[in-house]
């Protein structure tokens, strides 16, 4: 288990928010908006398509897995339709920080960043 954890950590030597998404043309704009929200707040992130076999994961499941993989403990999940969810590694899997439809993607990016920065969420 130790070695497994270490291998995983090699990938994440830099502290980043992890964005996990289902590769789908329908959510491409969302991804850009999430990234914009994170960038405007000055928090580094990396976006990763989901691995094979995870094609049925919901935005929340993706967000939670992303949070666990994040050095900063914060993850964003994006489903095929562009619904987003923000999660934190220290929260129970079924209690995400927030979630929303595609139209809220930019705000989700801001708030994922603010979770890291520790300032109050953007409404």
């Amino acid at each position: 288990m130790l070695s497994g954890d270490l291998r995983d950590r090699d990938k994440r030597d830099r502290p980043t928010v992890v964005v996990r998404y289902r590769p789908d043309p329908a959510n491409r704009l969302c991804l850009r908006e999430i990234g914009a929200g994170l960038e405007e707040e000055g928090v580094p992130f990396r976006a990763e398509p989901v691995e094979r076999g995870q094609d049925h994961a919901t935005a929340r499941e993706l967000a939670y897995a992303a949070a666990l993989a994040s050095h900063l403990g914060v993850g964003v999940g994006v489903d095929a339709a562009g619904n987003t969810c923000v999660h934190h590694a220290k929260l129970p899997p079924d209690v995400p920080v927030m979630a929303g439809p595609p139209s809220t993607a930019r705000r989700m990016g801001h708030n994922a960043a603010r979770l890291v920065v520790g300032i109050a969420f953007k409404k």
Partner: protein, 618 residues
Amino acid sequence: MTLVVGVDIGNSTTEACAAEIDEDGRIGYLAGALARTSGVKGTTENVAGVVEAVRDALAAAGRDPAGLHAILINEATPVISGLAMETITETIITESTMIGHNPDTPGGAGLGVGTTVGLADLPGCAPGSPVICVVGAGVDYERAAEGINAATARGVPVTGAIVHGDDANLIANRLCRAIPVVDEVTLVDKVPLGMPAAVEVAEPGRTIRTLSNSYGIATVFQLDPEQTRMIAAVARALVGNRSAVVVRTPTGDITDRRIPAGGLTLVGETARRVVEVDAGAEEIMATLRGVRPLADAAGEPGTHVGGMLARVRGTMSELTATPVGEVRIKDVLAVDTFVPQRVTGGLAGEFALENAVALAAMVRTSRGPMERLAARLRVALGVPVLIGGVEADMAVLGALTTPGAGLPVAILDLGGGSTDAAVAADEARVESVHLAGAGDLVTSLIDSELGLENPGLAEEIKKFPLAKAESFFHIRMEDGTARFFDEPLPPDAFARVLVLTDTGMHPIPARHTMEKIRQVRRAAKERVFVVNALRALEQVAPRGNIREIGFVVVLGGSALDFEIPDMIAQAVAEFGIVSGTGNVRGTEGPRNAVATGLVAHYAANAGLRGELVDRALG
């Protein structure tokens, strides 16, 4: 054995003290109880609250109400307070000379100076002369960055940008040449184009230095001394900001206007003085000291202060069923405060902290309703109701049951509407005073200074310590200690300042830091209670000399506060007298003094009992 209950009807709280008195007048205190005062103090509406407090006290004492001999209520001079607040300054921007708001995430850092040009017009700009790019609503950050980069490549020095969206860093990160970018300028369309402008953004954690300095603006726009004089107010308004924009329009201006609030006429017993409300609290209080004791106060009709006092007077008249003409204002407390207000003419929802004066006024009404109340109470409870001694005398008697308190004693009763004080060299000679301003004024200052518009939350902020949720599993308290939780906090608490009430943690929906809220809270308490405590002691002390008082006993609901007693202790420490929060009967803390005093008075005057009962029944 005679079973009696002393009852004190306060503006906010009705307190009861149950006791048995033996043949020799020795008192066996049984229990205390309290209830919310129903209706306005001294009116027949109080019956419900009194009945509740009496019932609870007897229940706590384990005594049958049927055995009750009498209810003792005090000969209160109903003292009722009113509050009003008036803004006395106003910031107005004519044309758009200044954008002084503080977006969370401006981009870049430094100072840029040039002529304002819309993004769409950049391609038409001639190389060589510096410009400030104005990016309107709905423009994507990539397009904005491309447009600016293209202009730079053509030799047009773009030195700064003013942006509608929350895009400053997105744009700044995509530029070939770093420039300061101010974003979230909601009314960006109103920024005049073709005008000289300057954009400044400070490094994180710092404040701007050029545009908040008159000579900085003068340097940027090459102003002469006369022109510099005109823009001094702009610089002043920008002090303390992290980012700012100044556009030089031919007639643009910003003014710091004083709103004529009107004159307050203070009528003393021998003198009569008028003071302008916008002169501030210090001036008003100095004038008051000059005419004291106050017989009445009036505001100039047609002015803000006129309206203010008319409102207070009207409310009092209504509550006490006294004609408006007979309502007399017997004390005034003025407090300087500030109110966050939206700047007229601002382009980005700028707020300015405007100065304001809060006035608490204290009105003394006639004794009339007390007798009617006693009659109603007798009907409701079926026992004799005696109107005992004067409230202040009773409070002194009750306070003296505090272990360690002795004569000469002064009491300070910190209530909701008024701060009352009494001094007794011995138990017979009591001097007392009722001052406007107490817990409710503190609550209302907290509410307005933090811009909460939520008095319930302000009351909680007053009464309970703060904390900040630093993660989902821990909060940090005001004193720096951390507390851990097994269950995650709700997301709406995250990174927010919380008030730790006895019913749970409540997030404060405002952008203030914990330290700021703490400061506002403590300053409000200082300005009301420390000021009033000293004012009150000074007025009741023998020869006005506080040092001649031996013991100060602090009483009342606000003495339960977690920091007010410390503040008062510190303020009177220099007089070298013993001062502390009362502990009535060694058990009740600062509560129940008057109710206890009524029982003590009754026991001591056993011989008069028959007469008093007769009078109450008569």
